[in-house]
Every structure is written in C-alpha cells, then in structure tokens.
Symmetry: C2
Subunit: 575 residues, 2 copies
C-alpha cells in the first residue's frame, strides 16, 4: 500500500512505486537519511543534478498518536555540506500518510529555467507549470494554492529565497489555519528544492488521522495513554501549552546561558520584554493567540499567533527565533522581532540562521546592535536579491568569512541556536558533534542541564555532557523517525512508561514486536548512516569542534569557557 | 649568523633570535611550511591569535644565483583553510638574505584597533605605529615608505583588502623600480597580515647579492653555468624574455585549453587581442616595457610595464591575470584588463582569484560577460568595502555559494587558474591534489602537456597525468625552497645538468654534500609536512577532487571531460 513518489525534474516525469522492502520499517528522519545515503553521492554538489530532496512523514504520522504530525525533509545540505534532515509541524505530514505516501523523492535538475508544482492526492501525482507562483512569498503562494486547489489542501513550498538558491532557505508547509510558516528551516533545503525548479507541492487528502493501523484497538489505548503522559508532565502539560516555546526566554536568561550580543554575554537585561509571557500578553490583547497547535492532534499546542502593528499576523514566534532577533541582536522590541520573523517566513529563510547572521554582521559593524529598523531594512534585501541580501541569506559562516569575523557562532557552517555552549555544555557537545551542523534539536541537553528533566547534569561543567548528548542524540534520531514532536521527550525522559508506550503504538500500527532496545537501535542506526555519509563527504573529527572563541573567551555570568576535551568529543559516537 | 625575527603583535615585542639547528637547512617554502606546521594549530581560526604569518627568503636568495629572488610567505590560509605558501619576486627576498634574516614570524593578535610597521635592517628590528598608512593603496604606501626610509628600501605591504581581512587579499613587495606589485597573492595571506595589525615591513639592506657563501669560487662557477642554461633554453632564453608570461595566451588558446566564459569553452576568438604579443606592441608604443626583471639578477625578465590610458602604469600584466580578466570574462580590451589588474594591485587583491570570482558573478548574472566597464566598477567596490566588494574579495567559492552557482572553478576554496583541467589534465591533477588549493604553480603540467618541455603527455587523456603531476609537485616544492623562480624548471626539465647544478650551488653556498636525491627528498618532505597539516585541519581525499561540472560538462574544442579516476588522484602522494 505504501508508496514512494519519485519526481525527475529533468524530464518532469512522476513515478509512483511500491516501497521496497528495506524501507518499509522506516519513516521520517530514518527514511530521509537512509534514502539520501543510498542514492546521493556524498561529494556531489548540493545544488547540482545528483542531489535529491526527500520528504517523508514519520512512522506514526497520520494516526491518532498525539503530536505525531512532523514532516521530515532531507538532502545533502548546501549550507553545511553534510547530510541533512530538518523537520516541521504543519498539516502535510498527516495528509501524506493518509494518502499512503511514505516519501516524495525529488531528483534531477531541469536544464531550462522555470518553476513547477507537484500535486498529490489519493489517485496519484501530477506535475504542472507554476511560473505564475515564482517570485511570490510563501504566504501568497499558500493562499493562492488553497484557493485554487481547495482550502483543506496542504501546501509545501519555498519562498523567493529558495528560488534564488540561497543557502539558508527553508521548506515550509501550512498549519490548519493556513499559515505557511511551519518550517523545515535549517540547512538550506529550500535551495535544494529551488535548484530542482519545484516551487510547491500540493497535498490533497480528505483525512487526517486514518493512516492504516493494523490493531486499531491496541493502538487507540496506547495513544490515549501517551496523550495522558504528555498532559501530566509540567513542561508538556503546563509550560508549553501556557506560553509556547518562548516560555524558555526568561528561564534561559535566568540560567545565564542566553546568548546576547552575538554570544558576548549570557544574560540580556531586557529578555523579559521578548519573553513568552510578554508575547502572550500582547498577542491576546491584540486578538491573537498565546498558544495554538501547529498540526491537528497536538496536545502541547506550543505555537502562537502574534498580530503585528501592520495588521498582519506572525505565526509562530518561537523561542529560538525570538532569541535570534532579540537578545542576540540586543533588540528588545517584540514587534521588531515579529517583523523580522515574518519577513523570514515570507521570503522563505531559516530564522535561526538569519538571527545568527545578523549578529555576525553587527559584530562586523555592518549594522549596529540594537538597531531594529536597520535589521528590518537589511533583512528585506534578501527578497530583493541585493548583494547584502545574498550575504544575509548565505548564513552566519559565509557572511562572517566575507567580513573577516572570528566570532562566528556556527559548526559545520550552520549557526548555533539560543543556548550558549559555555554554560549549557551538553548542548555544546551536541552542536559540535551532531551530523547536522550546530542544531539544538539534535540532542537537546537543555533538558538535564537547565530544566532538570531526565536528571541533572551541571551545565557549567564538562563532566557528563558527552554521555548526556550521546543518549539524547540517539533518542532524538529515533523520535525524529516516528513523526512525533521532539517535545514529547520532556515527558518520555521523566516517565519509565514513555518509550515503551511509543513502541507499543508502533507495534500496534505495523503489527511488529519491537522492544525499546529496537527503538534505540533504530536511533543509533540513523546516526551511523548519517555519520558515514558525512565521512564520505569529507568530514572528520576536526569538524566536530566548536569555534575557537568559545574556548578562549569566558561567558558571563558564570565566567566559563567551553572545555569539553577534544578526545571526549570524539567519543560521542562510540556506540 | 642567520636570524629569525619574531614579532608578537599582541605586545608589539620584537625578538631577533638565532635560527635553531633544525631549520638551518631550510629556506623559502620548506621553511615557511615547516614553521607553520610546527607552531600553528591546524584547526585554528586563520584570522585568530593562533595563526602565524611566516615570511622567508629562499635558500639561494641574496646570492648571485640567477633568478633566485623569490620571497615565500606562509600561514594557515583563511581562503582555503589549508597550509599555504605563496611566493613572489621583488627585491625583499634578496634584501632579507643580505641582512641575514632567514624568516620573519608574525604572531599573536592585537586587542586594539590600529596598524603598525616593522622596520628591519642590519642592526635589528623596530616596530612603529602606521595608522597614517592605514586605508592607503599599496602604490601610495610603497611610495611613502621609500620617501620616508630611503628609495632603496624594500617594502612588504598589504592594501586595504588585507586591512579589511578580505579572504583573497595578498601580500606584496616592490621591484627595483619601486612598483609594489610583486604579489604573494594567493590564499588570502594579506588578510592574515591584516589580522595581525601589520601594514608594512620595511627591509633596509645596502646589498643585494652578498648573502654568505662558503665556497665563493665554486658557487660563482655553478651560478654562471646555471645562468647559461636558462639563456640556452627556448622558453627561458627566448619566449619569456621576448613577451613575458603572456606569451602563453596564444599558445594556450591554440591548444584549446584557455578557459573562456567561466570555463564554458576552451578557446576565445579574441585571445590575440589580450596576448603577450599585443601587450608588447602597445606597451612599447606607449613608452612602457614589453619585458623587465621583477628582481635583480633575473635573466628571464618575464615581467612587463604597461602604460594605461590614464597615465598610470600597470606592472606587471601576467598571463594568468590577462586570462582571468580577459577570456574568462570574455573581455578583449587590454586596457580594461590592465585596469582591473591595477585595481587589484592597489587594493591588495589576488588577480587570479578576482578573475575567477568575477567569472562566477557573471555566471550568476550579477554582471554581464564581456562588460568591462561593469567589471571595473564592481572591482572598485572592493576598496570601498561595500557588500558587493566584500563578495568579490571573498573569492570564487564563497561568491559562488552566495549566488547558488554550481559552476565554480575552484578546489579547496581557491580559484582555478588559466588552464582548463579537461584539456590540460596534468594541471587538473595538480589542482585537485596540491596541498595549496587549486594552483597552477604547484605542479605545472603545462610543461609536458602543452609545451612539450620535459617530455610529452597527451593533455586530453587521463593516462600519465598522475605521475607527471606527482613528479612536478615534488620538484616544485624543492624549487620553491631555494628562492629560484619556478620558471627555471623549463630549462631544468630539459637539461640533465639542471638539477645537479642547483644542488652544486646549494652545496657551495652552505658547505654541504647534497645529492640530487637529497633535493628531491626535500621536496617530498615539504609535501608530506604540508599534507599532514591539512589532514589535521580536517582535509581528506574528498577534498582532492575537481568541481563536479568538470566531470559532467565537455569542453570544446576537444570535447573532453576531466576523467582521471578518483582512485588515481589518491595515488599522487604515494611516495
């Protein structure tokens, strides 16, 4: 029943094929990474004909499993040169699963200019010209497609940044309310889609929760139990549903690991002005939403909808984005933060990378720290394709190199997000070693370092961080394959029934007899496949390091440097 | 007697110290690479405090050995991330040797803004503020310094590009006539010097040919014999002295390996308009020089002085520069080529990289192929530090990445020079595998591929290229350590007495008993040291590859692709 949709953009031919045996038990990141590893030459040009863009729902996506609607997008990254999986909420993962599409594989490269659209429904797949959509922002494209193909379709698209092959362009899809800003933002996958000449994918599916399940009753019970676990945990049941991800702003600031002024300081005195609490207050006062669900069936509802003074709504303003455009730039005006966020969403740019890049350009003196209007004007140049716009969209590493900046917060070419590695050292280990380039989601040690979820490891000390990061990276690779939101980890880490219940859902759905060890083995295998791809692409332990300045500059208020030893970093993948 | 001058730019302290035993037999590239390998952490930030800039005359520099005045500049490259040695003619190598300075080692990094000047003479070394020189072009800086310190001083300096830490900034020094354009251009070593806050080095030496020689008579005889060999060979005795390096333009065009329109074609129908023959005609008509010597005692005299319509003189216009700004951009106006060359010389930018970068930007549609005035206007933005100027100065790879270009002619981040690797495959092997990033001088297979010097290996075939490149890379590393100009290789390759005579000069100068095998062993050791540095810096065989497009696009007129197998490329360093 499950299908691969293969699209050759050189010929515009679409093939719908049965999923080969060896891919049947994979989904989400496990599937995108395995397909990329199997079919993409590791040394190929990420924007050339040999790269492939793979889009896959998770194993549990499209069922009634709570918070299971993550969509994985994979390819060789033009930003990092590594293998890449970036996942997002939104409605398309569930819709794809409900029309039994296990993966979309976009191959080849058109010889001619022009953009196309791929339409998928239960009856098959169809390619059609989309030059009328070219150059348009993601909000407009999504609105046009929902008008043209029905208000309930899911729309996966790129903005002008992706069309212009910009290295930090993302791939987005819409939420239930039609907002197009559920981004697989990291690693420039939007540029890969752009290089293929594919502007949008329409996913037309009547149902959301009816993906095939073998043992319906057993599945239902497990899903209900899992849902209750999420509701019972203080983070997933209270913190996130009250203030969304940006509940972290005050917490991370208090912990002294909020990167401020391009990672100069660990606290920002105006953090509360861009916090989740403040956001909720303003959003509600303006008729927006303090929280809402990014996809149907999510119980955490950690997203939001922030009405801006110009009448438009930025949805969502996530913590990492609020950090990147807020404390990182010494900007404390939430309206400016939301505006920068909105520009990125519309033009199709990763907000974390944009925040890091603007920080680096402020470090270089191109802009001034704290000058929100200048930041807005600069970011608007991305869509215009000016040289400065190109610089901004090229990411922190490239922009920093152009300006001779030595304080570039990035690993393997990808900007470091919202937690300073000198006082959240578990995250530092993850940034340095993950197969993805600096990525907080790849092994979110904020759990044990700051939130005291799943135990406690002193964030200012080197001890214990490698083991913490390793375990989280393995668990994350497994979770990213299920379609479950990573945030379920808060509950799972604190509940011995957590992982067994996920496994129970998988067994009920697929008629399997997996153990929790099998689930962890899946995570380990994903990492091994990804790491081998990177090795063949030319990555070595020399790439598994943080930038020099983190090891020689102390960060206030804890006055710590990153001091996890290189030989210990090299043990992360000893499993 | 021989000294190291060590300058700590953090404290501005200068130490003159005896050369440690293990460095006494090294010079030029062998010395800069060994010092960098011994003292610079391979993974350090090239513009951070741990990199060191090493400047060293060759072993024979400052003697009467003909054409022995090359100056080596080494560091970890900010452009490539590899170890780097770039060498240049000019007067300072000989002058340094005559005040017994074997190497200048510039270390550390100032905490404060500002630029300094280092003055060296027989009595010692002195640091002085040079903020009055900051921002000035190399022509003006050199003129000011020759006025301030005496017309006969040698001036090593960087332009605004180096001050602004631009990744393809070079380090220059002047010729006997005061022109400041003898560039160690490649790899961004000017940015390393800029990062140290060092604007210029004044080398004040009364003598040019009086470096210590142990057996004067024996040396004199060997030098005379070597000089005669150069005069007797058709390339070094006739071709170069008549038309300079740009004598190659028509030859390489005829051979069908002249990269045209950013490496689209192998021939340019207007190549003769920017050829050495044409240059000589125009230069002489305007009162310039078809050829002149870049340093005293050179018998090949392959440089030139080209008077421009604005009254200024561009000296020199080398073949690779004329190619980069000519056929590569489909520009056939020699005055435009000279103007672009002059701008680079003054602002302190590598002309080859600038040519490659403008080609890539034309590929991206930022400029139009053939539009010389637009190219001039764009290149002038480098000195202004505009975003476009920064993009241009960042080199072909970075600029290409910003614009999503897949046809980027570069290896390890450095632009490929004036010989297409698809129809001069020996050079292709060198570009792919040299420790330096794409570099024609590292193993100049044009000799046997095109000029039939040192035998003949069919340039359009894969067979024999690995062995050819390997042997040339070894020999080049040895030659680059002597201070001899690489062009002596034309004569040496065709004359069984060539290498023994170089060894005889070294033995006479240093009282040694080296054999020709020892000389080749020196070359091999240089390569091994460099390659080990790169390995520790994170380079692998995946980096020893040409860009994808050379393997999938045929080049006219021979309609060949680059097809040397990866496993064969990996054998280059099997020695």
């Amino acid at each position: 029943m499950a299908k691969f949709v293969r699209v050759d953009m050189a010929t515009k031919q679409v093939k719908v094929e049965d999923v080969p045996e060896q891919y049947l038990a994979l989904g989400g990141r496990a599937l995108t990474s395995q397909l990329v590893a199997d079919e993409v030459p590791p040394t190929c040009d990420p924007l050339g004909p040999f790269n492939k863009l793979v889009i896959a729902p998770g194993l549990l996506s499209g069922t009634s499993a709570p918070s299971s609607g993550r969509l994985s997008v994979g390819a060789k990254s033009p930003l990092t040169g590594t293998i890449k999986e970036s996942n997002a909420g939104g409605v398309t993962s569930q819709k794809l699963a409900n029309i039994h599409i296990k993966a979309i594989v976009i191959e080849g490269k058109p010889a001619e200019q022009g953009f196309y659209l791929l339409k998928l429904n239960a009856n098959g797949a169809e390619m059609m010209p989309a030059d009328d959509l070219a150059g348009k922002g993601t909000y407009e494209v999504t609105a046009i497609c929902r008008e043209r193909f029905g208000a309930k379709v899911g729309v996966i698209t790129i903005g002008p940044a992706g069309e212009m092959l910009m290295l930090s362009a993302g791939v987005t899809n819409n939420d239930s309310e039609g907002s197009s800003s559920r981004y697989a933002g990291r690693g420039g996958l939007g540029a890969v889609m752009g290089s293929k000449g594919l502007k949008a994918i329409i996913v037309d599916a009547a149902k959301t929760f009816d993906a095939p399940v073998q043992d319906v009753q057993r599945f239902k019970e497990a899903a209900k139990k899992f849902s209750q676990m999420l509701l019972d945990h203080p983070v997933t049941g209270q913190g996130l549903p009250a203030y969304g991800t940006n509940v972290l702003m005050n917490i991370i600031n208090e912990a002294g690991t909020l990167p401020t002024r391009n990672f100069r300081f660990g606290r920002f005195d105006k953090a509360s002005e861009v916090s989740g609490e403040k956001l909720a207050e303003v959003a509600i006062a303006r008729g927006g939403k303090a929280t809402h669900a990014c996809h149907p069936g999510c119980v955490m509802r950690c997203s939001n909808a922030y009405p801006m003074p110009d009448g438009k709504v930025c949805s969502p303003v996530e913590y990492e984005t609020a950090w990147g455009f807020g404390p990182n730039l010494e900007i404390s005006d939430l309206d400016v933060v939301a505006k920068l966020n909105y520009i990125c969403n519309d033009v199709g740019l990763d907000t974390i990378e944009a925040g890091c890049t603007l920080g680096v350009l402020m470090e270089a003196g191109v802009l001034s720290f704290g000058d929100g209007q200048a930041a807005i004007a600069a970011l608007e140049e991305v869509g215009q394709g000016t040289p400065l716009g190109r610089v901004i969209a090229s990411g922190a590493t490239n922009a920093g190199k152009l300006y001779g900046v030595t304080r570039i917060p990035a690993v393997k070419g990808q900007g470091i997000p919202a937690y300073d590695p000198r006082s959240c050292k578990g995250n530092g280990v993850t940034y340095a070693t993950t197969t993805m380039g600096a990525d907080h989601t790849a092994g979110y040690a904020v759990t044990a370092n700051i939130l005291k979820v799943g135990g406690f490891v002193d964030p200012t000390k080197a001890e214990g961080q490698v083991e913490l990061s390793r375990n989280l990276q393995i668990a994350t690779a497994a979770v990213d394959s299920t379609g479950l939101c990573l945030f379920v980890a808060f509950a799972v880490l604190d509940n011995p029934e957590g992982l067994p219940t996920i496994v129970e859902m998988l067994n009920a759905q697929y008629g399997l007899t997996l153990t929790t060890d099998d689930a962890l083995a899946l995570g380990m295998n994903v990492l091994k496949v990804e790491r081998e791809f990177n090795r063949q692409a030319g990555f070595t332990s020399a790439d598994d390091r943080l930038p020099e300045f983190f090891t020689i500059e102390e960060l206030s208020p804890h006055n710590t440097k990153f001091d996890v030893k290189n030989e210990d970093l090299d043990k992360v993948f000893d499993f």
